[in-house]
Structure formats: C-alpha cells, structure tokens
C-alpha cells in the first residue's frame, strides 16, 4: 500500500515530538557535566569523598550523598513493608467496597504536593517525632551515638519518616498491579489443594510477583532519592562535616536539599556553583540508574504477563 505523503509527514512529525524525551535526557546530561566540570577537575575523586564545604577547604559531596542514602533507606525500611501489606490487602483480601475506597484514598495521598507534606512535616510530624520518638529514645539510650543530637526534631529520622509516607502510594499501587497480574491459574492451583487465602498469597502470588514487587520497591527508592521540598523543610540543613549522618537525631542534608538551599544564591562562575552542579550530576546519575533498573523489573513482569494473556 502506498502511503500518502501527508501520512508520512504525520508519522515522522510525531516521532520528532516523541523523540524530544531522548533530547531532554541527553541535553540534561551534557548541561550538568559541563557545569560541574570546574569542580570535577579541581577536586577529582575527592569531590565524592570530601566532607568540607567552603571556598577555603574545597567542596566535597560525601555528607550529602550519605544523607540521601540514609534518609532513603529509612523510607524503604519503614515504607515498603507497609506498602506490601496494603497491596496484599487490596489485591487479595479486602471486600470490594473497601478496596475501591482505600485505593482512592491512597491515590489522593500521591496527589498531595510535596511542599504540603513539608509544611505538615515541619509543624506536625516534627513535633510528634521530637516528643514521642526522640525524647523516649534519648532518655533511655541517649548514650548511644546514633541517638545523640539536638531536640528540635529537625533530623534524619523525621526526613526518613516523611519520605516513607510519601513513597507508600507509589510502592503500594505498583505492587498491587503486579499482584493482580499474576495469572488466575497460579492461584487456582493453590486453592485446589486446600490453601487458605494467605497461603495462596504467600505461595503463588508473592513468589510469582517477586521481581515486580522488588521493582516497585526500587521505584519507591527512586522517589525517595529525588524527593526534595518535604525533606528540605524537616532535615535541618547542616553543611560540611557536621552534615555527616552519624546520628538519627542530627540535622543533615541530602543532595536534593542542598541544591534547594544553596543553588539560587551561588555566585555565577564560582567553584561552589560548579560543586552544586556536580551534586546535581551525581543525583542525576543515581536517579537514572535506579529508575532504569526499576522500569526493567516492573515492565518485564507487567508486559510479559499482558503478552501471555493475549
């Protein structure tokens, strides 16, 4: 069949727009590498391992990289098990009415802007953490270094908690999708030998959906690594060596928050600006890697099973 030229134009015209995604990603990489170049050449590998953050001693990104890892880990440790509980409940156990209501509410939780989580974190969650988590722990175990610190509630733990709350909708809804996509035959096989609902979930659903659920958790990790405003407002904003995450109850900083705190005021052409863009580059690379892995895992499970049904 001969294609009219207008159709060919339409096809390749829309391809140009679709390909803009590739352009955006490539351009971002180039822009960040170029901007960070002065800092990378001046400090070399020390940029990743240094802890100082001033013009005299130089700029090192280690405290912020570790800060991101620590807060994201807290978020995963707390958020993923709860998300899995929700996903199992919604996919396998809840009555239909509750299912619809709960999943709608969870999706609204995902729609609340980050800045509002931040405001709530600053005025509500922070106070709660300071009074009900921090004081008891410090009173009983205050001699342990990981519980030392100031008592305002602006710290790694509060930041990790708010991240946990924020990743739950993502991890829960994708895990549920993955579980729902497990073929009925898998469940029926288990039911037919007399398994209870929980045994079906444990034996057929969870084992079958394992890699997809792992992918959902990795997506949650990506969210936690890149989340910015809510963390900025509760983490306290330390810089330099004092921002190293040596205690849960210490003010710190993540890669995303130091960008918000300093980038708009950094002097044009300064080494500090280049160092901040270097942190942007590291964040870009980490987020890119995490998301590629997550998409591959989730995509494989969902697409393969969709294909099998057709």
């Amino acid at each position: 069949m001969k294609h009219p030229s207008s159709d060919v134009f339409f096809k390749y015209g829309s391809l140009v727009f679709a390909a803009s995604v590739i352009g955006v990603i490539a351009l971002s990489m180039v822009v960040l590498v170029r901007g960070a170049f002065p800092a990378l050449t001046t400090f070399g590998f020390r940029f990743l391992t240094g802890v100082d953050w001033d013009a005299a001693a130089g700029f090192g990104a280690l405290p912020y990289i570790l800060g991101t890892l620590v807060t994201a880990s807290i978020a995963i440790i707390i958020g993923v098990p709860i998300s899995l509980g929700i996903a199992i409940f919604l996919a396998e156990m809840a009555p239909d009415v509750i299912k619809v209501a709960v999943s709608n509410i969870i999706e609204l939780l995902a729609a609340v802007p980050s800045i509002i989580y931040g405001l709530w974190g600053l005025y509500v969650l922070r106070v709660w953490v300071a009074n009900y988590v921090q004081s008891p722990l410090q009173n009983s175990f205050g001699f342990l270094p990981i519980f030392s610190g100031t008592s305002y509630g602006l710290n790694f733990l509060t930041a990790g908690l708010i991240l946990a709350i924020m990743i739950i909708p993502t991890v829960a809804s994708i895990s549920r999708e993955v579980m729902v996509s497990v073929p009925v035959s898998q469940r029926e096989a288990a039911y037919s030998v007399g398994a209870t609902r929980w045994e079906v979930v444990r034996m057929s659903v969870l084992s079958y959906a394992r890699s997809g659920i792992f992918g959902a958790a990795v997506l949650g990790l990506g969210r936690a690594v890149g989340e910015t405003m809510a963390v900025t407002m509760v983490i306290g904003g330390a810089t330099g060596a004092s921002a190293l995450p040596t205690s849960l109850f210490k003010p710190g900083q993540t890669m995303a928050t130091i960008l918000v705190n300093q980038l708009s005021e950094a002097e044009s052409g300064s080494l500090q600006l280049a160092a901040l863009l270097g942190i942007g580059l590291v964040l870009f690379a980490i987020a890119f890697g995490i998301n590629i892995v997550a998409q591959l895992l989730v995509w494989r499970v969902l697409k393969v099973q969709a294909g099998a049904v057709e």
Binding site: P4, S6, D7, F9, F10, K11, S14, L15, F17, A18, A19, S20, V21, I22, L32, G35, I82, I86, I88, F89, L90, M93, I105, I106, E107, L108, A111, V112, P113, S114, I115, I116, L119, W120, V124, I165, S173, I174, E177, T196, R197, W198, R223, G226, T228, M229, M233, A256, L259, V260, L263, S264, S268, L277, G280, L283, F288, N291, Q295, W299
Partner: protein, 279 residues
C-alpha cells in the same frame, strides 16, 4: 492454626492500610484547621506585606501559579499528546520501545534535577530568574506524564474504529486526529488534568527558575511568585502570622489540586481507565 494465620494476615493488611491513611487525614485536618482563618478576599488578592508585619496576602502567588500553569499547558500539552500519538499509533518498533522506556524513566525523574538543568541552561545564560524558565521546567515535568496517559488512552480504542475510518478513504493522520483522538477524548483530558494538578504543586524546580517575588507579574523575563514557593518562604519566617499565612496558602493549593483529582476520579468512575498516573 492455618485459619488463624489467614485472619492475622488480613488484619495486618487492614492495619497497614489504616496506618497509611493517618497522614492524609492529619494533613487535611491541619491544613483546614490552620488555614481557614487566613482565608478572606484581602488575603487572596493583596501582595505580601513588609516582612515581620502581619499584613498582606498571596495575590502574586495565585497569579503566578495560574500564569505558570497556563504557559506550561501551552508548551507541554501539544508536545505530550503528539508524543503519545506516536507511541500508540506508530510506536510498535524498536524506536518506539526505546522512547517509551525513556519516557517512563523521565516520568520518575527527580523534578529538582530538571530545575537544576533549566537553571544552568536558561537562568545562568540570560542572567535572570524568569517565568519562562519556570514554565519550561514544568513543561518538561509534564511531558512524560501526558505522553503516557495519551498513549494508554489511545490504545484502548479498538482497531475496528481505525479501520472503519480508513475504509472511508480518510487518511491516517485525519483518522488519528479526528476519529481516534476524539473517541479517546475523555481519557486524554483526564491525563492532562492530572498532569496539571501535579505540576501546579511542584516547588523544587521553581526555587531556582522563577525564584519567588513580593510583587505581581512584571514581565515574562522577570522573577515571579507561585503558591508552592510562597508557602516555602513563609514557612522559613519565624513569625506566627507567617505560619498562619503559610497554612492559608497551603489550603488554597491543596484545594486546587484535590478538586481536580477528585473531580477527575468522579467523572471517570467505573470507566476502564487504569493509567499508572503517578506510578
């Protein structure tokens, strides 16, 4: 014992669901409780007062958010819809798969990084924070969301509809735009609305693109205020009035975002629309 374990699993699941809902309830409760008292016409329309004085409002912030979202829609929606059309109608090949994959990656990308890129590219080059830079950052955030929801909506349209149109001798591009896109309209519009609600609340990329400002709109190439930025700036001030104003601004923002979200969900209730909107 096995029945007990079954019951236990059910209760743990329900408990997790209940636990996850506490923050939403608490957020809504606190925003309404603390924000409602600030809301009045003067607060919504006047510019911020002198810092430290309990006066002024969030007029420029509301104006800025509406303006930014407007420009973002103009730049981001056509781009996203056309990309979605490509992926759905012509994207069943290696190129399409690569684009789809990168699109999903970009959709999950930290918005702060996109802000940093636009800051380096636009703000540093032109030596000025600007509305245009902000709208550009928001468009890039919006693009992959709209692309994905458009693609998924178009894919739900059965091929018989495409064939029927082509059989009448209507060309492929007319078929796509006038028949397929029109049939999928509600899904496409839903995706666009959810994307708008998402970018309206974005803050991090705005901090280093539009910066925030005390004044009303004064040109596309100058700094500008927006609701999320105003909330952030107010929260950093140590005065009780600033805290009350911050909650007030948060109430306005959350109303905007949730009205769109709840409205869309009610309008599409029961329909087969299962895009991973924020997935």
């Amino acid at each position: 014992m096995r029945r007990f374990k079954n019951k236990l699993a059910l209760w743990i699941g329900a408990l997790c669901a209940a636990l996850a809902m506490i923050p939403l309830v608490s957020i809504l409760y606190d925003v309404v409780k603390n924000g409602a008292s600030s809301l009045n016409v003067d607060f919504l329309t006047s510019a911020p007062g002198v810092i430290g004085q309990a006066e002024g409002g969030i007029g420029p912030a509301i104006q800025g958010t509406l303006l930014l979202v407007g420009i973002t829609i103009i730049m981001g929606v056509p781009l996203g819809v056309l990309s979605g059309i490509y992926l759905s109608e012509f994207g069943d090949n290696p190129v399409g798969r690569v684009i789809r994959f990168l699109n999903d990656v970009l959709a999950e990308f930290p918005s702060v990084v996109i802000g940093v890129v636009i800051f380096t590219l636009i703000v540093l080059t032109f030596k000025s924070f600007s509305v245009i830079a902000g709208a550009l950052a928001l468009s890039i955030i919006m693009l992959p969301i709209i692309t994905r929801s458009t693609e998924e909506s178009l894919k739900l349209i059965p091929n018989s509809i495409r064939d029927a149109s082509m059989a009448l001798g209507i060309r492929r591009w007319r078929t796509t735009l006038s028949v397929v896109l029109t049939t999928a309209k509600s899904g496409v519009v839903t995706g666009i609305l959810l994307a708008i609600a998402r970018v309206a609340g974005e803050t991090a990329p705005l901090v280093f693109t539009i910066l925030g400002s005390q004044y009303f709109f004064s040109g596309l190439n100058s700094p500008m205020d927006a609701l999320p930025i105003r909330i952030y700036r107010l929260a950093l001030l140590p005065y009780p009035y600033a805290q009350a104003q911050g909650w007030g601004a948060a109430l306005v923002l959350i109303l905007m975002v949730l009205v769109v979200n709840i409205g869309v969900r009610l309008a599409t209730r029961g329909r087969l629309y299962t895009t991973r909107s924020r997935a």
